[in-house]
Amino acid sequence: MSKKNKQDPRLPDETFEPYEEPRLIPLPVYWIAIALAIWGVVTLVQTSNAGHFADKERAALGEKTASVASPAASTAAPDTGAGKALFADNCSSCHGDAGEGVADAIPPLHASDVIKAGGASAISQIVMRGIGGPLIVDKANYDGEMPSFSSVLSDTEIAAIADYVATDLNGMNSTVSPDQVAEIRTASEDMDPWDGGAGLASLINGLPPQPASENASAPSPEATATASLASQGTANIWSCASCHGDKGEGTQTVPRLAGLAPAYLAKQLHDFSKGTRISDSMAYVAKSLSETQITELANYYGAMSSPSGAQPALKGDLARGEQLALSGDYSKNVPACFTCHGTSGIGVGAQFPGLAAQQPAYIAHQLAMWAGGARHNSPLGLMAGIGKALSDEDRRAVADYLASLPPAAGNAKTALAVSPTLKETTNVQ
């Protein structure tokens, strides 16, 4: 090497020998490094976009995120197309795409004599509080339960929907302003749903004759005892409200209980104590309850109407979630969730629980548990197949969509009989 140093540095190295060159990094190393760098950047861009996509969809679905967070506080001015889109997202699953209703089950909105008599303001009143019980619309009898939308729609949104239904679907010259809806909201704070046609008669002048009310009687003393058991607990029984919330609305992976069918709630409590459904805390809770207490608590939560405590939180694709809920994905053997869980996720009978306004983290978690086999108590193993068929994105999508729906009203009619022979016995079966 000494010879080399004597040479003019600017001249080519005559003694250069290839093997002296410091070892070059082999090309494949560069290839892999560059490929990894590209992959890294792409994933980064994709994950940050996924959030944006979801946001966009949420905006498209009627600014639900904003409105759920603070239902009364949305200030955006209603525009003409908004009412139609909001109607499609919130009302058409029950009342039909054109407001035609469902024969003998859900009244029409496109030419309703109730709306003709009450206009946009009455529509807002009904959407705000919900309505249940005997009702006559266009000479046909109905006796159903429409949920209250107060916890999922803003004043502006309710006004836009009411205007659309009154003007476009009924050809009326009747509108309502967001401010008027705000007043309705304040006035109907903590009020029960309208008591069918009899309830509306006090609101709407000139309403066609309506059937008598079937109002449920005042809560019995046992119900108040059950209420205190649920909210306070006892020395041996944990308070349900401490985890499930004061109004049974749930949070995170603790489920909403309010408005679920009593028979379903009782079955789950039995499953926890038998160990066919696994949850350490609930197994402890369920084993501490007597058979009578199980029935009474199930009836108590089943009859409870409370606002939604859920909102989309998992960055799910709401449009995909809506598709799974309303149409399913038959290429994966997944029928629409609502074929089994009922229109708009309000539940069917004792076996098919309501899903509307259920906590999204809870729904996604349960679907994953079915997929993994940790929850395996559904009749015929129906949910196991569905949980397995859904990808993680699908689970988040459908959970977020369901969280955006109004909660089903409590229903005292489905209460289980508290059999005296079962009193104070513990869970056998």
């Binding site: 590209i38 992959w39 209703g101 469902v102 290429s331 197949g385 990808s391």
Partner: protein
């Protein structure tokens, strides 16, 4: 990229050769890197990556339908055009999925077309509409004439929808908008299929002959274990709190009548094996499907609308029910089957 020779530290001499090499190396490195990235993404895209890498379990095809991938996929709803024709397609779809509401005058039970033709008439092996549309008009031995699509739909209204019990007392008259809109919907969903060829996935598919003669008693057990959760212990279906039918009745006054294809054990067995229990197709063996289909057939339902006027039950049995292994005209549990109900049953409620 420090591929420089140490001797290059001083002002470079005539080293263009080396500079060129560096450039070539850079190009090779970047080019190779890009190629690798592209190859990698292609592998992932086409699902060629092994599952240990992607963390996704390959979903086993639980369906007995063989290669689902070969079946026709009807277009997504989002592609319905936004014009007059598209409006007709949408109305047709609404009639198909909520028949009692949107074709109210012609429906005499609590069913919708989509209760038997699943996924709004799109599901293979539940007699999908895309598989039917390209093969009509065709001759049917049931009514011994060439049937247009309108005739065929009229048949499902007459029997499956029990039109005799509807407000109008019969199926939609020829030329009704109900047929027009339904056919728009079928035509739209069949786009791309050749005319005159029956595609795979048509009808209810094939079912093996049962090893033992079908038995009503075994069928009752299959029913209790696999169907009652949804269709009810009494088979009369379930409604939600608003009274809307969620799980359709399999028999009784609000189900299809004795003239409907679904009452024949052979049709029902094939439908059941390929579609029921809902979300678990293929769960039942052929024997179980035949047994439960026979059990289904052995219950009362609205009368065969062809048995009118002077035609007695016995004559109707000979004429339309003789060859099929059905319960029409037989006495089961003390009840003569086929007599229907005194008055046409009012729809719903």
């Amino acid at each position: 990229m420090s591929s420089k020779h140490p001797s290059d530290t001083t002002p470079p001499g005539p080293d263009s050769a080396k500079g060129g090499r560096t450039a070539i190396r850079a190009i090779l490195a970047v080019g190779g890197g890009l190629t690798l990235a592209v190859l990698g993404s292609l592998v992932l895209e086409f699902g060629l990556a092994p599952s240990w890498l992607t963390g996704q379990k390959s979903v086993p095809a639980a369906s007995p339908k063989g290669a689902m991938a070969d079946l026709f996929t009807p277009p997504p709803e989002s592609t319905i055009p936004n014009d007059e024709f598209g409006a007709s397609v949408r109305r047709g779809m609404a009639i198909f999925t909520a028949t009692g509401t949107n074709a109210h005058d012609f429906v005499g039970n609590n069913l919708s077309c989509s209760n038997c033709h699943l996924d709004a008439g799109r599901q293979a092996f539940s007699a999908p509409m895309w598989a039917a549309y390209p093969v009509y008009p065709k001759y049917r031995s049931k009514n011994k004439m060439v049937n247009t699509m309108e005739d065929r739909i009229k048949g499902c209204f007459t029997y499956s929808m029990n039109a005799q019990g509807s407000p109008s007392g019969g199926p939609p008259p020829y030329g009704s908008d109900v047929y027009r809109d339904l056919q728009s919907y079928f035509y739209w969903m069949s786009k791309g299929l050749p005319i005159g060829e029956t595609p795979d996935g048509a009808g209810f598919g094939k079912i093996d002959k049962p090893a033992l003669p079908p038995s009503r008693e075994r069928g009752a057990q299959v029913f209790a274990a696999n169907c009652a959760v949804c269709h009810g212990k009494d088979g009369l279906g379930q409604t939600d709190v608003n009274g809307k039918t969620v799980f359709p009745p399999l028999w009784g006054p609000h189900s299809f009548n004795w003239g409907a294809g679904m009452h024949k054990a052979s049709s029902a067995a094939a439908f059941i094996q390929h579609n029921m229990p809902l979300s678990e197709p293929g769960k039942l063996s052929a024997q179980e499907a035949w047994d439960v289909a026979t059990f289904l057939d052995s219950h009362p339902r609205p009368k065969d609308p062809r048995q009118t006027g002077a035609i007695t039950l016995q004559e109707a049995d000979k004429k339309w029910h003789k060859s099929s292994e059905d319960f029409y005209g037989e006495t089961v549990d003390g009840v003569v089957l086929g007599t229907g109900y005194p008055k046409p049953a009012p729809a719903a409620n």
